[in-house]
Each structure stands twice: as C-alpha cells, then as structure tokens.
Amino acid sequence: MRKLLFTTLLTAACASAQAQDALTLDGSTTVGPIAKAFAEFTMRQTPGLNITVSESGSGNGAKALLNGTCQIANLSRDLKESERKAMAEKGVKPVEHVVAYDALPVLVHPSNKVKGLTIDQVRDIYTGKITNWKDVGGFDVPIVVISRDTNSGTFESFKDLVLGAEAKIRAGAEYTGSNGGVRQRVQMTQGAIGYAGLGFVDRTVKALEINGVAPCAKTVTAKTYPISRALYMFTNGEPAADSPAARFIGLSRAEKGREIIEEIGFVPVPE
C-alpha cells in the first residue's frame, strides 16, 4: 500500500514535471502554420506543455537548431551542405522528418487571361527574357515579377525547382518578406506574377497550370505538378520515444495531424 502510494506520487511528480515541459520551434514561414496548428492541438492534449513557434525563415531555423535555441527547426528545404558542416563542427546531429508536401503555385492577378505557362516560360519571366504578358498570350501589360526574399526557404525551393543553378532573377524583381505578402502584392497588382505555398492560394489570386498541370493535393502527391517540395522538421538527434518532440512530429503521421495539414492547405505524407 505504501509502495503503491509512493509510485503514485512519483508518477504524479513525473506528470507535473512533464507538464512543465517546453518545446521551442523556429524556422520556415511555410511550415509555420502546420507547427502552430500542431502546437495548438498538442497543448490542448497535454495541459501544461508549453510550445513556442517562431517563424523567422528556414535559414534562421537551421541557425537556431545549430545554436540550440530551438528543439525543432522547421525547414521548407533540405539542410544545405554548409549548414550540415557547421552542425557537425558543433556536435549537432540533424535528423530529418518529412511532415508534409507543399507545392509552389505560380500566382497571377485574377483578371489575367493567361491560364497556364510552361516551367521554361516561368523561368524566362523571372530571368527577364519575357517582360510583357502579351508574349505568353495575355494582355499588353508589363509583367511585375515578385519573389520571396533570398532568406526564405520558399525562395530556395523556387530557385532549385524552377530557375536551376545558373539562372539569375532579373534585377527589377521585387522581393517580399512573407508568403502572405506575395499574395497581397499579387492580388492587387494587375501585371504581377508571384509564388507562395499551396496554403496561400485563395479566390483573390489565380494559380496557373504549369506544363498543363494545376497545383492541388492530387497532383502534388502524384508528383505530376512540377513545382513541389517536401516540408521538414529537423531535430538534434532522434527524439526519445514519447518525448514532447517525438509526439509533436509523430502527429504528422496520425489521422488528426493529416487532417490539420489538409485543412491548412498542404498535402499530408502518403501512407
């Protein structure tokens, strides 16, 4: 009886210790909405668990994991060679978890009569070879090229998936600090072209077909939509089973987590 009481007390102590737990996430503004929805759900499930989600960009997320200021780094791209090297030097062992897929829809103003472009045309628009919509079957309106800032994972993915290693974005392109900012600029600029996460497509902008394929969950998981990518959460070492970090990341495979991911507009990992 006494022993039982002791065990109960110990368990209670453990539970309360766990309740004091804190989980800090930092990184991509694309993965941010997933992390925030997961955090909200997990905190409701585990009262007392405190989860902080910062969105300072993939580059800053990797830096935060390197400096130990976050337990989970959200990245919308894989770690770069230089980042892996810096981590190895500091004894940080990054472990990769794919939590969802994202496509980068190419967005234009709803009044634009262009329905689709080839990926080469998108590249030519961004490098400045094509500067007017009339050259790709649209109205005679100069193209306003909008890109994410070079600090974002979205930019890195776009560069990798569309531009390739050699191409450079034209000097007159505008740079915007967030996906929401890109949508905001596109929905009010007649000649604009931009790109953002799949979750940012709504009725106020038009997502173009690329090589004849429209961006949606089906085409992304089937890998037919050309501009798509995986979204990552990185931890320092494999998180211990049943630790807050492991449960948090595990949510992306659970039914509820997949629901959340779909709700936000991303594509869950296929089973």
Binding site: S56, G57, G59, N60, K63, L66, S82, E83, K85, A86, E89, K90, V141, P142, V144, D149, T150, N151, F155, E156, K159, A165, K168, A171, G172, A173, E174, Y175, T176, G177, G181, Q184, R185, M188, T189, Q190, G191, A192
Partner: protein
C-alpha cells in the same frame, strides 16, 4: 537655534563631503561615458566584421558592380545599385519633406497666432510617435494599390496640392521682393501687381503642363522608390518642422522688430532676415531628416520593392529599388555567422558604409553650425 551649530564643519566632515562629491561626480561621468563607449563599441564591432570583406579583394565589385546575387553559386556582391537605391530614396524623401517642413516651421514661428502654434506643433510632432511598421503597412496596403490603380491621377493631384500653394506663394513673394523699393508708392504698387500677375500666369502654365504630363503616367508596381520616399518624407517631417521651428524662434524678436522698423515688409523680413539668421538651424534640421530617412528600415523593406537595380533613368522614382538598410534586415538570416560567410561580412560592410555616411553628415552639420555661430557673433 539648533541648526546653528551645523553650519561650521569639522575638518573631518569637510573631507567626507569632498569625497562624496567626488564620488558623485565620477559616477555621473561613468554613466555619461557609457553612451560614448557604446558608440565606440558599435563602430569597433561593425568595422571588425566588415574588414574581412574588404580585405577579401571584393571591394571594387562591391562599390561598382550592380550584380547583387548573394545566394548564387558563386555569390556576387555588387552593391552599387543598393547604394544608389538608398541615396535615391533618401534624396527624394528630403526633397519632398524639406520645403513643406520649412514652410510649416516658418508659418508656426512667424505667421500663426501663438495659441494655434501651441496646438499645431505637438500634433505635427505626434507623427514621430507612429511606429515605422505602421507606416510600412500603410504604404503596402493603402498607398501601393492606390498608386497602381490611380497612379497618374494621384500624381497630378499631389502635384496640384503641393505646387499650387508653393508656386502661388513664390509668385506673390517673388513679386514683392523684386519690386524696387525706391519707386514712388503708386508706381511701386502698379509694378508689384503687374509682376504678381506675370508670375501667376507663368505658374499656372507650369501647373497645367506638368499636371497633364503626370496624369498620363501609368505605374506598373505601387511598391517603388516613390512610395518609400513619400512615407519617409512624412516620417522625417516632424524632425524637420520641430528643429527648424526652434531655430526660427531662436532668431529672436529684436531681429524681426529691427527689420520692421527699417520699413521691410513681412515677406522681406522672413526671407532676408529671419531665414538667413536661422539657416544653420534649418540646415541641421535637414541633416537630421536625412539621417532619419537613410537609417529607416521597416518602411523601405515593405514599400520600396527591394529590387537591386539602378532605375533607368536614374531619377525614375516609379521603379522598385533596394536600400542598404532593407538588405541588411532582409538578408540577415541567410548570412551565416557560424561559418563566417562572405554574405555575413558584406552586410557588415553595408552597415559600416551607412555608419560612415551618417558620421560624415553629422560632422558636416556640426561644422556648419559652428561656422554660422562664429559669423553671427561677428567673428
């Protein structure tokens, strides 16, 4: 009285007081020097991280090339377009803010009744209390779409509202100043009226022609140098108004009364006496405005479009540009501190350039104010 005996100090007490006095003074000195030391420390740390970039043999490209591809392989750090962007946006903001700012200061110090001024000045100074991100948000969400949809008409309207009073005032004041004072009163009045009419006619021709040209302009993208300049101008306005107004006030009542006593009109008093007396103060107001505009980050990051290009032609404010401050803020995360990449050091090189420019401005301002003071003293 009981206090009487405390007036005399023993040698011990006197020594104690002297010691405490010294302690107090050195504490105050220490606190004051913290501010000065902070400046030195900032310069030291920025220079320390900027120098590896310059010693890397990239300085020529940094100042001369416009190819800004910091994440490309291999990276290119040509910041010429970014320097031009910073200077362009700052210059335009100053051009937009200084004339109305100085006019408003003049109006408050010499024309408006005292109690109106007492209300108006704090209201204008409130502009300085609005957070810069609120300005930036306004620029992005309100001004940018407006420029895109109503660009030409908006420019023409802005031209009319700014230029109509400015040119009207210039015509009236110019006619008043140019009419020779020696003429008999009647001839003087006739000539002045004729000159006023002539100037007003010229002004209206300019107004209409420029207004027409502006109304036909189409703006492809509302986040551009003009948008950022307008907002920066508004942000610099309270500094310029407040400091110029103080300078104009400091010019003194005797000067104005002396001028009126010699038979000068109000326009002559303001233009030929008060403004020259306050010119060093107005100049430091302008310098403070320049530094405000040059150092502002959030607004230009949100409103300038961040395109690393030199507009063609260079005065074309309707194209997006990128500034030094926005580049530092935007690229900070990518610049890898741990690996000490060139991208990291190039941002410090930009910070150092900004710092040196501000310093030069500050020193030039101090020098001009000192010289002016000497001249006014009759040295």
């Amino acid at each position: 009285m009981a206090t009487g005996e405390h007036i005399l100090l023993t040698a011990r007490e006197a020594r104690k007081r002297k010691l405490f006095g010294l302690l107090g003074r050195s504490l105050l000195l220490l606190i004051t020097s913290v501010a000065a030391l902070a400046v030195l420390a900032i310069i030291f740390f920025i220079a320390r991280d900027a120098l590896p970039f310059f010693s890397g043999g990239r300085s020529a490209a940094f100042f001369l090339s416009t190819a800004w591809y910091p994440t490309h392989e291999p990276p290119q750090f040509g910041a010429a377009a970014i320097f031009v962007g910073s200077l362009l946006v700052t210059a335009a903001a100053v051009v937009l803010a200084v004339p109305p700012g100085v006019c408003a200061a003049l109006c408050m110090s010499d024309i408006l009744p005292f109690n109106v001024r007492q209300v108006l000045k704090p209201v204008i100074e409130m502009l300085a209390a609005i957070p810069s991100v609120a300005y930036g948000f306004f620029a992005l969400v309100v001004l940018a779409p407006l420029l895109q949809e109503q660009g030409g008409r908006l420019l023409a309207a802005a031209w009319w509202t700014l230029a109509l009073p400015a040119l009207g005032l210039a015509a009236v004041v110019g006619a008043d100043l140019l009419t020779p004072a020696e003429l008999p009163e009647r001839a003087h009045n006739v000539l002045r009226a004729a000159l006023t009419l002539l100037f007003l006619a010229a002004a209206s021709v300019i107004l209409v022609v420029v207004g027409r040209v502006l109304a036909a302009v189409r703006i492809a993208s509302g986040v551009n140098a003009l948008n950022a300049s307008v907002i920066l101008g508004v942000m610099a306005l309270p500094t310029i108004v407040s400091v110029s107004e103080d300078a104009l006030q400091a010019a003194g009542r005797e000067l104005r009364e002396g001028s009126y006593a010699l038979g000068a009109t109000r326009a002559e008093t303001l233009v030929k006496v008060v403004i020259p007396a306050a010119v060093s103060g107005i100049f430091s107001a302008v310098l403070l405005g320049i530094m405000r505009a040059l150092g502002e980050t959030m607004v230009v990051w949100m409103a300038s479009g961040n395109a690393a290009q030199i507009p063609k032609p260079a005065y074309n404010l309707l194209l997006p540009v990128r500034t030094l401050t926005a580049t530092i803020a935007g690229d900070m995360g990518e610049a890898d501190q741990m690996t000490g990449s060139a991208h990291y050091h190039v941002l410090f090189a930009m910070g150092l350039s900004l710092l040196i420019f501000s310093f030069a401005c500050n020193l030039a301002g101090e020098w001009i104010v000192a010289r002016q003071r000497k001249r006014l003293r009759g040295g």
